[in-house]
Symmetry: D2
């Protein structure tokens, strides 16, 4: 299997790829951008692509769902969470005090600002197009900088010397990545699943979102993420990008989405897949499969 990912090698995205189903044994194809990675799947140059879906260091994420859903019509088949932690790495063993220049992606630089001000206050900053590109640049002749701020993975891959670690100003950050593939069989439900949908609304009226949410409420469906996004096709038009807790194989998810299909027929299903955190969904007895089956049987008996 070939998996494309937002490259170059050694980024947090590659770390996410390794956590995906089949990732450890897949051929890994770095792409220059999220759009390129997704295009490789669409063009059959890769079986799937790993792309960041929420806040990431190398950026480009806010628009990823737009790209998956609007530009490429792919489905999400898995997600992975990667802790965002940085190391300061050098080509040869060095002391902190010796470092006069550092390179990294500008987003990563912003996330270690306080550490840099106190630890390497005199180091010059040199931008790189990614954290991994900066790390690779240490092997250039001449090197792009004395040291690079990068993911632990790339430091390990390149055999770099780790001068300092866990240097991020705010510890505990985690980025979510998804595995996107051409539409195919939906992964089996595991009891701890997510379903991602995009729901266009024709106009920006006060009750529009309420109407959608009522379908979730009446079916006991919880959302774990919601974002309004402009469709890009004219003023006032927008869509909601939503993650639901549950799987399309469940009656409550199916009924909620069927109801939404009636009011917004262009609703798009982007996949049901296991949750990275494995947290099982909670649901009341009134939205159990048994309750749906009993209700359907009752209606059937009335209709005779």
């Amino acid at each position: 299997m070939k998996y494309a990912y937002l490259g170059p090698a050694g980024t947090f995205t590659e770390a996410a790829l390794l956590k995906m189903p089949g990732g450890a044994s897949a051929e890994r194809l770095p792409a220059a951008s999220v759009l390129s990675a997704l295009a490789m799947v669409e063009n059959d140059d890769a079986h799937a692509a790993v792309v960041p879906i929420e806040n990431s260091v190398e950026g480009g994420v806010t628009a990823t769902l737009d790209a998956v859903s609007v530009a490429h019509h792919l489905h999400i088949t898995a997600e992975a969470l990667v802790p965002i932690t940085f190391v300061l790495a050098s080509a040869e063993p060095m002391e902190l005090a010796e470092i006069r220049s550092v390179t990294t992606h500008s987003h990563a630089w912003a996330q270690v600002r306080k550490w840099a001000q106190t630890t390497v206050p005199y180091a010059e900053y040199r931008p790189a197009s990614s954290t991994a590109a900066g790390a690779h640049g240490l092997r250039n002749d001449p090197p792009v900088a004395d040291a690079a701020i990068c993911a632990p993975l790339v430091a390990e891959q390149l055999g770099l010397h780790v001068v300092d670690r866990q240097i991020e100003d705010v510890p505990g950050a985690v980025t979510r990545f998804v595995l996107a593939a051409k539409p195919g069989p939906v992964p089996e439900p595991t009891g701890a699943d997510k379903t991602t949908v995009m729901i266009p609304l024709p106009e920006d009226h006060p009750g529009g979102l309420m109407e959608i949410l009522e379908h979730f409420a009446t079916n006991g469906v919880n959302m774990s993420r919601i974002e309004s996004r402009p469709t890009g096709f004219g003023m006032g038009d927008y869509y909601f990008s939503i993650d639901l807790e549950g799987h399309i194989a469940e009656a409550r998810i199916a009924d909620a989405l069927a109801g939404i299909h009636r009011i917004s027929p262009k609703v798009r299903f982007l996949g049901s897949y296991p949750r990275a955190d494995g947290k099982p969904q909670q649901k009341g007895p009134e939205v159990s499969e048994e309750a749906f089956a009993a209700a359907a049987a009752w209606i059937e008996s009335l209709r005779g």
Copy 2:
């Protein structure tokens, strides 16, 4: 066919019976009370019963739905509207000024009070157990009164002299009657139908009714009547008696009731039947049969 009705002969209920499907040719069996009429159906002494369901002259109506649904488990198969208009009738031709006593049911008496105060101010009032019973009493020896206030039907049936007509203080009143029978095939949808249900709620909490109504809202179902009623089985417990616009054969009604069955499994279906006023139901494209079918097909395609 035998139809029981709230008697005696000549009441507004008999007038309603004549408007029901099959009523003109049915054998008409007067009953002494709503409960008796319903019991005759349950005991197979009649095929159906005609009973008042909303404000009526001879009373007993508030509890009719309780009786239909709780005590007798019958279904409603038709409804009829009867204008409530009174005549003043005498056994032999008389002038208004000659009338010294009038008889009628106390509810009817209340509804002609102003007319009586100005037209027959010196007439003594003698109560009757129904408007028809009063009319019949004019033929007693001695007659129960000089004149009776009754439905036009009974005056005609008994060949009485009509001294005055349309004597009700508030013109335009209409009473609704239903035809109740043992559960059987539901009448075919006509495009202008009602569905009556009773929905028990386990406790009296602020959101309970909202949860029910959301199922109607998400399925575009309108209510034409709602009443909260005590279940009679303990403090705090109650149910809603509701008339919906639409037929159980429609997807929107079926889906709304299926959803309610999940939160209140003891919901009881009391029938889908043509509206007496023939007013066709309005529904938006998002709750058309086509929209439900398209949504179901979409879900099916996702589940593969």
Copy 3:
């Protein structure tokens, strides 16, 4: 103080009057109908009127709220609950087996039907215009019947002999009565109060009731009764008659009603008054007076 009530003397309504604030010492004025009792208040012939508001033996109740709110613009200042229990009474001591005729109101007769069939199966039924009128008729010459089915109160008032008691087929029934007066100061909140309102809706659309209920939901206000009622002023127009748990002096009731006033400006307030069952209202911290005060202070601080 003069209190009108639905007479004659000895009805359940008079029993309710005696339980009302000031009832024990009030001059009691029987009226021939609910409308007459209310008219006496409006014409200043009485300070208040006691009328049945829910299922009652002598009837006339479904329309009482219409009368209070639409015809007479009165306010409710108290409520009382009266157990509906019947006695079989005779003028002189008699045995059950001796009774050949009984008199009572037709509604009462319907409520003792099973008892009558097994206990006095051969007794002839003679209708009366009220249970009390039947009891009084025992003193006529000749008496209207051997025995009367009536409230315990009238049997006691007339010194009748009680042949049998608690003869109702379904024990435990209770009727609710209200005290209606001209609009004046609202009774003080007690912590266990009700508020009655009528809310007209211009048209019968699916979302109309939802919009109203959302104002109750967002303010944590529970309903203890709801009924849709035709306004009588044209097809399709109707109003909701609703009892709320709480007092207009509470912020949550005031805010909910203010919101409803914006969407249905003809909403009518029919009074806040102590609950007959004394059950204190439950409310969450988010709708406490403190929460409303804190929210108002916050908004004030933002507006500067």
Copy 4:
């Protein structure tokens, strides 16, 4: 006045600054990151900061609202929309065919990918820490590249030669920027305003968002943007970042927010300010200032 902004000079953010109230005459202070710009305001080194709030070329935007609201407790006092269009600029006049290397921020590079593949297919890409930094680098000795992809503003400021213009693959993109300042008097309402709030929810339950939205619905308040955001303080906790159409000076906005304050007392107000697009808010008569005043007067009259 001193305005900080996400620098360096010549970015789209500086273009936004020039469109802000007071921007044309303000002293402009470039900052290295959104957080630095906001910190300058908090430390009184600037009166306000201009930062991107939605998709932007140089990134860092998803987290801007978190920074404004959580880290710095600033208010938004204005917004501006800037069209995202790129030019290809060189230090000296050049032909397209002569260009062998280009520099720009990696996000900008992703947005001109198709243009680059067809127009400068052999040009080497050299990353810059911002589009403006790349443009400045053309004046280095040696220059960082033959040409830079940058905002029209910086090309003009530096007197560069524009080789090509409007080279973005998707035309019509617009980025939204806000002016953030220490809390102070709220800008006057203009009739076309926005209000930004953040609303924390204690737990991720199905009804949580519905409860919030019902306060908007009952007050006729429309949302123009909604995003769920993790609070960063533990699993399962999150907040909603929401833009409302309207001004805190309006009763409908004040009442909606007061209601939300009761259920989520840590709700934070981030400002009411004129809409950049000047589109006047639509509101029905039921949420006009007059309707709120009439409702308040009615309640006052009831409470006496």
